[in-house]
């Protein structure tokens, strides 16, 4: 959480005037930002603010209409694929295979043939590597944790997590938040989009508030944003705050 040791390190992500149109709808309108190494950034905002689109653009799943993204020093996002992990609300796992079988396959995609590593990653997220049950029969919390394991498997420098805590029970969510803190302390950069910012209240280095496809505020603290929520908008409707 200190800014002294990252002052000299180059930012991990640099975004310049990023624009994304989906037909008549502008999801991102000229977003400019940079994100430094070894930090946890929590990205917040209403539905439709562009948070998911931003993460998908960083992951290379969505091609910008205009603008420039530089990740880990290069604008060629496909070359840095081994260095980041992406997780979203769909589990990105095969329901009919067990946890180990899933991870073994995805490890292969990253050139990893080590079963031990898969088992260790599964254990790290608090699940049992020996469990033969197919993922389709897991609870939502277990599935999200396995999905996180898939994202962590290749030990990426950067994590892009879109709603990792949604529909997850409180204790699983707290475990995941703790794990993220450990990873940040080990030097990883983590961007988390969530509607449950309070889970990361102690851990996050910065809260990034998005609205209408742009970043409107960045704070170290959840408080001012909290009042912003509770103040106004019928749109937020209390869905995030339950």
């Amino acid at each position: 959480m200190s800014d002294s040791n990252t002052a000299t390190a180059p930012p991990v992500i640099v975004i310049n005037d990023l624009v994304k149109h989906f037909g008549r709808f502008a999801a991102l309108r000229g977003l400019t930002a940079s994100f430094d190494a070894a930090r946890i950034y929590t990205i917040l905002g209403d539905n439709g603010a562009g948070k998911t689109t931003l993460l998908r653009a960083l992951a290379g799943l969505v091609r910008p209409t205009r603008g420039c993204i530089s990740m880990l020093g290069t604008t060629d996002l496909s070359s840095v694929r081994p260095q980041f992990g992406y997780m979203a609300h769909p589990s990105f796992l095969y329901d009919e295979m067990s946890g180990m079988e899933n991870l073994r396959y995805f490890a292969r995609l990253y050139g990893i043939e080590d079963d031990q590593r898969c088992a260790k990653t599964i254990a790290r997220v608090g699940l049992d590597p020996e469990l033969r049950r197919p993922i389709g029969q897991y609870s939502q919390g277990m599935r999200q944790r396995m999905s996180l394991a898939r994202a962590l498997l290749h030990d990426p420098r950067l994590l892009l997590l879109d709603e990792p805590f949604s529909n997850v029970d409180v204790s699983s969510a707290r475990e995941m938040a703790k794990l993220l803190t450990e990873m940040r302390d080990a030097g990883k950069t983590i961007l988390v989009v969530t509607h449950q910012a309070q889970l990361l209240e102690g851990a996050a280095d910065e809260f990034v508030w998005m609205q209408a496809g742009q970043i409107v505020d960045r704070t170290q603290d959840l408080q001012p944003l909290r009042s912003l929520w509770q103040g106004q908008d019928p749109h937020t409707g209390g869905a995030e705050e339950r």
Binding site: H21, F22, G23, R24, F25, A26, R29, D46, N47, G48, A49, V62, R63, Q211, A212, H235
Partner: protein
């Protein structure tokens, strides 16, 4: 630019009228077929025009895949649309001609069959453009156009050999071409090309305007959560 279009329109109108006159009046009547054969002056130049348009579509698609230029995508779109229309003219005039002259509605004539397959490929192209999600449409369509173009030589050879095994009438006759007929063909072709250019150009302008409006709407859209999608 604004002045060129009406000029082109005028030129097209003149050429089409002149071509019509040539086809219906000036060209000699065929001894065997009578006046029915005059449909050839629409059938053949339409086919040539369609081939030209699809060639342009192929080139534009390749340019799009290399440079991702929106202009190339729009050119591919308009040439496909207009090309399908000309293809349809060929496919309709063929049977209309074949029936009174040869007594059959259809024959696996090389040019006719090639045109049919081309028509099918480009209709599937237009359907893909309509059904795909808007972000992907240009890329997918361009890829399909390349596949279609790769297919054409194979179609040609397969039909050519098929015909050597299963001979059937040739629409339009083979043999030497009367120089007067050739001249009328060329005049008609020139007229059709001008007409095709005019239609493509209008369609291109329409498409470009539509895209500009869409972009402006995106920029100005109100901040609505859960909007539009």
């Amino acid at each position: 630019m604004k002045r060129v279009f009406p000029l082109l329109g005028g030129l097209t109108a003149v050429l089409l009228s002149y071509a019509l006159y040539q086809a219906l009046v000036v060209a000699p009547t065929d001894q065997l077929q009578g006046d029915v054969y005059r449909i050839i002056y629409y059938h053949v130049p339409s086919a040539w025009t369609a081939f030209v348009l699809f060639f342009v579509n192929f080139v534009a698609s390749i340019v799009y895949l290399i440079r991702r230029s929106a202009k190339a995508d729009m050119i591919a779109l308009v040439t496909a649309e207009v090309g399908v229309v000309f293809c349809t003219v060929v496919l309709v005039t063929g049977p209309i001609w074949a029936r009174p002259v040869w007594g059959i509605w259809w024959t696996w004539d090389l040019r006719l069959t090639l045109t049919l397959v081309m028509w099918l490929i480009y209709v599937s192209y237009l359907m893909l453009r309509r059904f795909s999600s808007s972000g992907q449409t240009p890329v997918m369509a361009a890829v399909l156009a390349v596949f279609g173009a790769l297919d054409m030589p194979l179609v040609y050879f397969s039909i050519w050999y098929f015909r050597t095994q299963h001979p059937s009438p040739v629409i339009g006759g083979g043999g030497s071409i009367d120089p007067v007929m050739l001249r009328v063909w060329m005049i008609n072709w020139a007229a059709f090309l001008c007409f095709a250019l005019m239609v493509c150009w209008s369609r291109y302008r329409l498409e470009r305007l539509q895209r500009e409006v869409e972009e402006m709407q995106a920029l100005e859209s109100m901040i609505e959560p859960r909007s539009a999608r």
